[in-house]
């Protein structure tokens, strides 16, 4: 579904450019939930930004559904791939009502039955239509993240990129959103590529995890191996140790 081959990216800076991704190879299968875990500055979010078209000028190959994204525009990809962001405050336009936010993707695509689709997307994320005339600032963090998820699924994409979708939320709300993501994954046969710094969250949702450090993937581990501690790389071991010691 997503094939990333020897992806490298240099962040252009003042004077010298800085290599933030180095020779990344990741393959995500259809319907899989794949995790990227690492500490800040490890480059995990940069991979999503390359996929989402925010970073340009990377080297290597990224293919989505067999088609290289260098050859397709964001508009063509919009039916396949959508994204959920970390900050539920910044991800929704503060001066758009929830109705407008959910209507926008449909209007851009010129799809019929807008009201029906909005109703269904809202229902899928556990909200009802009373939220439609509200503005994002009238919603709680969890509700906002639900709206952001509704916006992502309203075009029926196959892939959703999740950029730390729960790290700005309280733990009890995090549990709800994780449950919602899991059930959507199951119901809609979605493919997830999820970024998180929290091994617990990643292991809860993802079947396979790429552990990243300093712009490189050090290891790709299956969930079972992660839980049992069957990891080979030192860095993964230390991450696991920290995660276990906190429980």
């Amino acid at each position: 579904m997503i094939a990333i081959e020897s992806l490298s990216f240099d962040m252009p800076g003042a004077g010298k450019s800085k290599r933030i991704l180095n020779d990344i190879n990741i393959h995500v299968g259809r319907g899989e939930c794949f995790g990227l875990v690492g500490e800040s500055g490890s480059g995990k979010t940069s991979i999503l930004k390359c996929l989402a078209g925010q970073f340009k000028g990377w080297e290597g190959g990224i293919a989505v559904q067999g088609k290289s994204i260098a050859d397709t525009s964001l508009k063509e990809r919009s039916n396949t791939m959508q994204m959920v962001f970390q900050d539920p405050y910044g991800a929704l336009h503060p001066r758009h009502t929830i109705r407008k936010i959910l209507n926008e993707p449909l209007a851009i695509k010129g799809l019929p039955d807008k009201a029906e689709r909005i109703h269904k997307a809202l229902k899928d994320v556990g909200l009802d239509e009373s939220f439609l005339p509200r503005y994002p600032h009238q919603l709680s963090g969890g509700q906002r993240q639900r709206v952001a998820i509704a916006r992502a699924i309203i075009l029926d994409p196959d892939i959703i990129l999740l950029d730390e979708p729960t790290s700005a939320l309280d733990v009890s709300v995090q549990a709800e959103i994780l449950n919602l993501l899991a059930s959507l994954h199951h119901r809609r046969q979605l493919t997830y590529l999820m970024v998180s710094h929290d091994l617990g969250v990643i292991a809860h949702l993802c079947e396979r995890v790429a552990v990243m450090k300093a712009g490189e993937v050090v290891e790709v581990v299956a969930r079972e191996d992660l839980i049992e501690g069957n990891v080979t790389h030192n860095y993964t071991q230390s991450l696991l140790q920290h995660a276990f010691s906190r429980e």
Binding site: A52, K75, R77, G90, H93, P105, K109, D128, R134, Q143
Partner: protein, 302 residues
Amino acid sequence: MKSTETLKNPGYALGARSEAQPSRMTFWIKSFKKLCKNPLSASGVVIVALLLVCAIAAPLIATHNPLEQDLGRILASPSLAHWFGTDEYGRDIFSRIVYGSRVTLYIIFLVTIIVGPIGLLIGTMSGYFGGWVDSVFMRITDIFISFPSLVLALAFVAALGPGLEHAVIAIAITSWPPVARLARAETLTFRNSDYVVAAQLQGASSFRILFHYISLMCLPSLIVRLTMNMATVILTAAALGFLGLGAQPPLPEWGAMISTGRSYMLESWWLVAFPGAAIMLVSLAFNLLGDGLRDLLDPRTE
């Protein structure tokens, strides 16, 4: 506006508290109340409101016909019959000032609806696209900014010929660059925000993002800027009128009134003092209103 909304609270939608939905109307009323809380901005609101009332109801408020000459009563000092006195042709100054508010508002309105969209369009486009678009637009803006605005306006009026419409065009041409710069600066802060990225991922065109996403976010500071700008517009219009390049006689324009009154200033102070006070008061009011709006609209000042 749906006022009867029942909020079904599904068990899993946590925190879906059924608070009353504040309608758009109450939002405006609340903002207005907030604006009036500060005595300075409240006085700005009052004076601007007075200006509006004067302009709309000029025939009802004015005591005389502003154009009617009465050569028997020239240069009469303020009295019960002529509250602000009369000018060198015996015209009632109070009535001329009341009708002059129409001219002033006309200029402000026209300049604002020309400058706002132009500044917004050029600013957001250069901010959003960056690269050569930005370079070209901003260099043009720099050129306009590097001239003193009155001199530039004078040049334009000199080229086009004197007249109210030409003055409006000249003022508009000199006052869009700061608006464009502001819009560009605002755009730079929003163009990489998550909701813009989300719109791009949905396949929204650049112009859709500019109009539906970025412009909306630029509007509050732009409105503040334009309101403050109105004070400058009034002053520039008065200056052009004073130099004889704006509104042409016998149109009661405040700047032109001062200009003609200047010759009689020493004996008949009221010819200059009242229009002068009107200009000062109104431009002060727009400044105060702008300050109040900034406190209200700009989240950074909180």
